[in-house]
């Protein structure tokens, strides 16, 4: 097994220490950071994503795998900057105002990072204005909103409205998700994309940014 596959395997098992050691080894062997990232770490996270989507692994395994991925990325970050590797797109992510649930949102973040996207995580209880302001500031491709309460879900509509008001609606794709959200709801408030789980959310985000 090559070192990249090994990185991917250990990442899938959530072994942060092994991943870290192997990434360091690959760097020392002179492999470029972009390759390690894409063919080692991201490849591993991709497998985790597919298994998660198919219900073969669950939240804890994804979180542990993501921890391992982050351990590897931390080593690569300075090199990626030096190599001039840019993120494939920028996503503003947060849980909407009044809502403090963030486990699902965190999974979305990890999966998106696993696709090479830069995610600016605004945390929980995020007012609509903040999503807009940050999207402007970072010139983001996507605003992604999470909501777990039927009562706070309506806040997503405000995000769409505010995006229109501030004139950035045609520059940014609005993506929504969370347990009570449905595709019908997405259409009814004029948002762009709904996805039922973090893995497909990340796939959709990558597709948007690739365009």
């Amino acid at each position: 097994m090559g070192i990249l596959e090994e990185i991917s395997e250990f990442l899938q098992k959530g072994k942060a220490n092994e991943v870290k050691a192997l990434v360091q080894k690959a760097i020392d062997e002179g492999m470029d950071a972009k390759t390690i990232l894409e063919e080692g770490l991201m490849a591993g996270m991709n497998v985790v994503g597919i298994k998660f989507k198919n219900n073969q692994v669950y939240v804890p395994e994804v979180l542990i795998a993501a921890r391992a991925m982050n351990a590897g990325i931390a080593l690569l970050r300075p090199l990626l900057v030096k190599e001039g590797v840019k993120a494939k797109g920028k996503v503003i992510l947060g849980t909407v105002k009044g809502d403090l649930h963030d486990i699902g949102k965190n999974l979305v973040k990890m999966m998106m990072e696993g696709k090479g996207l830069e995610v600016i995580d605004l945390g929980t209880d995020v007012p609509a204005d903040k999503f807009i302001a940050m999207a402007k500031e970072h010139n983001a491709n996507i605003i992604a909103c999470s909501a777990l309460l039927t009562t706070t879900m309506t806040e997503m509509k405000n995000v769409v409205e505010k995006a229109k008001e501030s004139g950035i609606r045609d520059k940014v794709v609005i993506m929504i998700g969370g347990a009570p959200v449905t595709d019908n709801y997405c259409k009814s408030i004029g948002a762009d994309i709904y996805r039922p789980d973090a893995a497909t959310a990340a796939e959709a985000a990558l597709e948007v940014c690739g365009k």
């Binding site: 219900n55 669950y58 395994e61 449905t182 019908n184």
Partner: protein, 643 residues
């Protein structure tokens, strides 16, 4: 959309019929919940997410089947005319039938064999009034008051409504029931004496526990503390969502919605009381008092109070104070002068029902060692008692244990599988019956159902039992992954034969279609296991968080009291096996049945107990888990199953 004007709907449930005009309802669910007396459970509140609001089309043309229904319903169901009420609009006049699911299991543990303590705060007084005549034309009221002159009693105005009949029926001899200086009821003495030689023993009260899912009412003799009768039903607000947030959201859409929810629950309580009164042959005017407990949302909706700020951070209810509400203000047909006692609550998500549990369990008065109380419902409330202090939290486990969100899940009603066990299937000669009358003699598992009805689905206890067995036999691993059909075949375990693929996912088949009461297979899918992981982790993490906050180890816990209908049926060993309850508490679990109902009954019968609620509340601190980093971490850890 075309206008639906002129379309009529003919609906039946349990042999009852209802005709009505569809009008501008936006779905059949909307129509049924607003315009018919029928009950339909709609756990997701009509959002097309839960797939539980099933109805059957008997005749007429409904709107075409939606994609949502295609995902949530099985093809066999669709071809049998089953639809989701929240997704259907009629295109012509429609005839539909609703499943009769109203009956709740007959209060197994809820016969109090001993009278409960009463504090004798009620007194009766028999008055002989001088009959009126042309010479004595004083009003009925004046006549009563002058006879009462020396007693210093106050007669609430609503009692005047029935006063003329009562005085004349009793031939000017009446029995007054009073508490302190307030008259609660005036009865014709003939009525009271006709029933019993001791008038005092014919005065009643009702304790009510309003759960989000189930409403239970208990009739008591207020003088002796003897339990006379009880009744319970699924909450009639079920058509407006299965959890408190959905109900609140519905209530917030308009004032008339809030009124509708209030009316639904009050009508239901009234009906339960009426039914008990008729069954036991007593007159509603003899019921002088009620005590109602429930979570704060239920109490708000019962009183018609605005629940808005319960739903959003920082979660502020209108009131958590103890209240005394005259029965006529709620339109309950008890004695017109009666009083409804509403005990206090702790916070937006820890209500009087939980305090009632603390009191019923004895935790409130014992200061010996630490104990835990858990009420596993949609909101898993947990209370830790340490000495004379309490800390409480609410874990939002979700309704998985009440059967919602589970493919074949259902509430604890007739036909629900409530227990699953492994059969010792030694060599059984072909054709021989197994050791019990399981419908499927070759299946290595057998089960029991509520009221021994044919199996229809799982209630929480059955799900937990089955999952425990699947974990124990390796059909599901500690991460929650279920073996696929092929993996099962390779593994060769006798249970593995019952692993199937259902909707592209692994599933375990317990009851094949031809053996079930619905003609549909009863199974547990991979996705169901995931839902249970979310729910059980919330409870387990809640317990651990409280212990951490209190700096306590499990050794120091004397008893874990399991309250609530689910707790009552749950097999503790299975609960520990799936990690719903931490293993460290093994051997300390005690199911105490509907503790909220018992607590409410105690507070109905004794003012002292009623004021104990207030004392317990003052000694309780509430932990908000939304802002607790400990909870967050423990929650993810607890999603795994114990190995």
């Amino acid at each position: 959309m075309e206008t639906q004007r002129g379309i009529t709907i003919h609906a039946t449930q349990d042999g009852k019929e209802h005709f009505g005009e569809y009008g501008n309802s936006f779905s059949l669910l909307d129509y049924l919940s607003k315009h018919t007396p029928f009950t339909l459970q709609a756990p997701c509140g009509g959002k097309g997410r839960c797939g539980k609001c099933k109805i059957r089309i008997i005749g007429g043309t409904p709107s075409p089947v939606t994609d949502t229904e295609r995902t949530l319903l099985h093809p066999d169901e669709l071809s049998a005319g089953i639809r989701l009420a929240c997704m259907v609009n009629p295109e012509t006049d429609l005839s539909i039938s609703l499943e009769g699911e109203k009956k709740v299991q007959g209060n197994k543990s809820f016969r109090f064999s001993h009278p409960l303590p009463v504090d004798g705060s009620l007194h009766t007084l028999v008055l002989e009034l001088v009959p009126p005549s042309l010479e004595d034309q004083r009003s009925d009221h004046s006549r009563l008051l002058s006879a009462l002159a020396t007693e210093g009693l106050e007669v609430p105005t609503p009692l005047l409504l029935d006063l003329p009949q009562v005085l004349r029926e009793g031939k000017w001899r009446v029995t007054l029931i009073a508490q302190k200086n307030r008259v609660l009821s005036i009865l014709p003495s003939t009525l009271v004496e006709g029933q019993s030689s001791n008038p005092a023993s014919r005065i009643f009260g009702v304790a009510v526990d309003i759960g989000t899912t189930t409403v239970a009412a208990y009739l008591f003799d207020l003088y002796t503390g003897v339990h006379i009768d009880s009744q319970s039903e699924l909450n009639a607000q079920g058509a407006f969502g299965g959890d408190v947030i959905s109900r609140i959201q519905y209530a917030l859409e308009s004032l008339s919605n809030l009124r509708r929810l209030q009316e639904k629950i009050l009508t239901q309580i009234d009906e339960l009381i009426h039914r008990m009164a008729i069954r036991t042959g007593i007159h509603p005017a003899q019921i002088c008092m009620a005590c109602i407990v429930g979570n704060p949302t239920m109490i708000h909706l019962t009183l018609g109070l605005n629940p808005k700020y319960i739903a959003e951070a920082p979660f502020i209810p209108v009131t958590t104070e103890p209240l005394f509400v005259p029965t006529h203000e709620l339109g309950l047909s008890l004695s017109a002068g009666g009083i409804v006692r509403i005990p206090p609550a702790v916070s937006a998500y820890v209500g009087s029902d939980i305090l009632a549990g603390v009191i019923a369990s004895g935790m409130a008065t014992s200061t010996m060692r630490s104990a835990l109380l858990i009420d596993i419902g949609t909101n898993g409330e947990i209370v830790l008692g340490i000495g004379d202090r309490f800390i409480a939290c609410s874990t939002a486990a979700g309704p998985a244990f009440e059967g919602a969100q589970i493919t074949c899940g259902m509430g604890g009603v007739a036909g629900a599988i409530d227990g699953v066990i492994r059969r010792n299937l030694p060599v059984l000669a072909e054709g021989l019956q197994g050791p019990d009358s399981t419908p499927c003699p070759t299946h290595p598992l057998s089960f029991t159902t509520i009221l021994d009805a044919p199996p229809v689905g799982f209630c929480g206890a059955g799900i937990v039992d089955l999952l425990a067995i699947l974990l124990e036999t390796g059909m599901v691993d500690e991460t929650g992954r279920m073996l696929s059909q092929e993996e099962g075949k390779r593994q060769g375990h006798p249970l593995a034969e019952w692993l199937i693929t259902y909707d592209d996912e692994p599933a375990f088949l317990l009851v094949p279609a031809d053996k079930s009461g619905t003609g549909m297979p009863i199974l547990l899918t991979q996705q169901d296991v995931r839902e249970i992981q979310l729910a059980k982790a919330a409870i387990a993490a809640g317990i651990r968080t409280l212990l951490q906050k209190a700096n306590l180890t499990f050794d120091e816990i004397r008893t874990l009291y399991l309250a609530g209908g689910f707790g009552n049926y749950l097999n503790p060993r299975s609960a520990i096996r799936i990690g719903l309850i931490p293993k460290e508490l093994e051997g300390k679990i005690q199911s105490i049945g509907n503790a909220s109902g018992l607590g409410a009954s105690l507070a109905l019968l004794s003012e002292k107990t009623f004021s104990l609620f207030q004392q317990v509340r003052e000694r309780t601190s509430y932990i908000e888990l939304s802002s607790s980093p400990e909870f967050q971490e423990l929650y993810v850890e607890e999603m795994m199953f114990p190995s």
